[in-house]
C-alpha cells in the first residue's frame, strides 16, 4: 500500500505565524513518531503516539509545539508563533506497533521543510 505521506512538503511562514503540519501514516500502523531535522543534523525525536494516546512528548522544544492524533490515524503537528529557530524538516514515521521487545520498522515520510522568515 501507500507509504507515509506528509503535507505540505514545503511551508514558508513569517515569524509569529502559526503552522500546521499533517502526517498520514501507513494504514493500520499503531505507532506514530514526529522528528525534527535541522539542516546538516540527524533527526531528533519530538513526540510519540500509540493510537490516539500521546505517550511521550518529552522532545517537544517548547509549549509552542503541540501534536495530536485524535482518531488514531492522521496526526497534526502545530507550531504556534513560529520563530526562526523552528526552521527545519519535520519528519513523521509510523510502525505497526512498538513494545519492549517488539521491533517493527519505522517507515518515514518525505518530511515537511519549514522555513521561518
Amino acid at each position: 500500500g501507500a507509504g507515509v505521506s506528509q503535507s505540505p512538503r514545503y511551508k514558508v511562514a513569517k515569524r509569529g505565524q502559526d503552522v500546521a503540519l499533517r502526517c498520514d501514516p501507513i494504514s493500520g500502523h499503531v505507532s506514530l513518531f514526529w522528528y525534527q531535522q535541522a539542516l546538516g543534523q540527524g533527526p531528533e525525536f519530538l513526540t510519540y503516539f500509540q493510537n490516539e494516546a500521546q505517550l511521550d512528548k518529552s522532545g517537544l522544544p517548547s509549549d509552542r509545539f503541540f501534536a495530536e492524533r485524535p482518531e488514531g490515524s492522521v496526526s497534526t503537528l502545530k507550531i504556534q508563533r513560529t520563530q526562526q529557530e523552528d526552521s527545519a524538516v519535520y519528519l513523521c514515521a509510523s510502525s505497526l506497533w512498538e513494545g519492549v521487545r517488539v521491533l517493527n520498522e519505522q517507515f518515514f515520510g518525505p518530511g515537511t521543510r519549514l522555513t521561518v522568515l
Binding site: 522528528y35 543534523q41 519492549v100 521491533l103 519505522q106 518525505p110 518530511g111
Partner: protein, 119 residues
C-alpha cells in the same frame, strides 16, 4: 541518555569499490537495537540494515553488512560493490530494548555521513 556519534561528515568511494562508514554510541543499557538508515536527496529515510545487540552475528543485507563490536560500542557499515544509487546521507541510529515507555521506542540518530559515489 544515549548518544550516537558519526565521526565522518563526508566519505567518497569509487563505483564498484568498498567503503566503510563508522559509528560509535554510548549507552549504559545492555539490550538495544542499532540501525543504519539511508536518506537520499529526496529526504525519505529508508532502513538499510539493523542489528539486535544480543546477537553476536553481524547482520548482512545483500551488499550491506555491519561490524558490530559491543564491547567497543562500535557499529560500522560496509558497502560492497558501491553503486551510484548508494549516494546519500547515511545515519546510524539507536533504540532501547529493555524498558517500557514511549520514549524508549524513539530512535536516536547520529549527525550523518554524506556518501558520494564517483563513476
Amino acid at each position: 541518555a544515549q548518544t550516537v556519534t558519526q565521526s565522518q561528515p563526508e566519505m567518497s568511494v569509487q563505483e564498484a569499490e568498498t567503503v566503510t562508514l563508522s559509528c560509535t554510541y554510548d549507552t549504559s543499557e545492555s539490550d538495544y537495537y542499532l540501525f543504519w538508515y539511508k536518506q537520499p536527496p529526496s529526504r525519505q529515510m529508508i532502513l538499510v540494515i539493523r542489528q539486535e545487540a544480543y546477537k553476536q552475528q553481524n547482520a548482512t543485507e545483500n551488499r550491506f553488512s555491519v561490524n558490530f563490536q559491543k564491547a567497543a560500542k562500535s557499529f560500522s557499515l560496509k558497502i560492497s560493490d558501491s553503486q551510484l544509487g548508494d549516494a546519500a546521507m547515511y545515519f546510524c541510529a539507536y533504540r532501547s530494548a529493555n524498558r517500557s515507555g514511549g520514549s524508549n521506542y524513539k530512535l536516536t540518530f547520529g549527525k550523518g555521513t554524506l556518501l558520494t559515489v564517483n563513476p
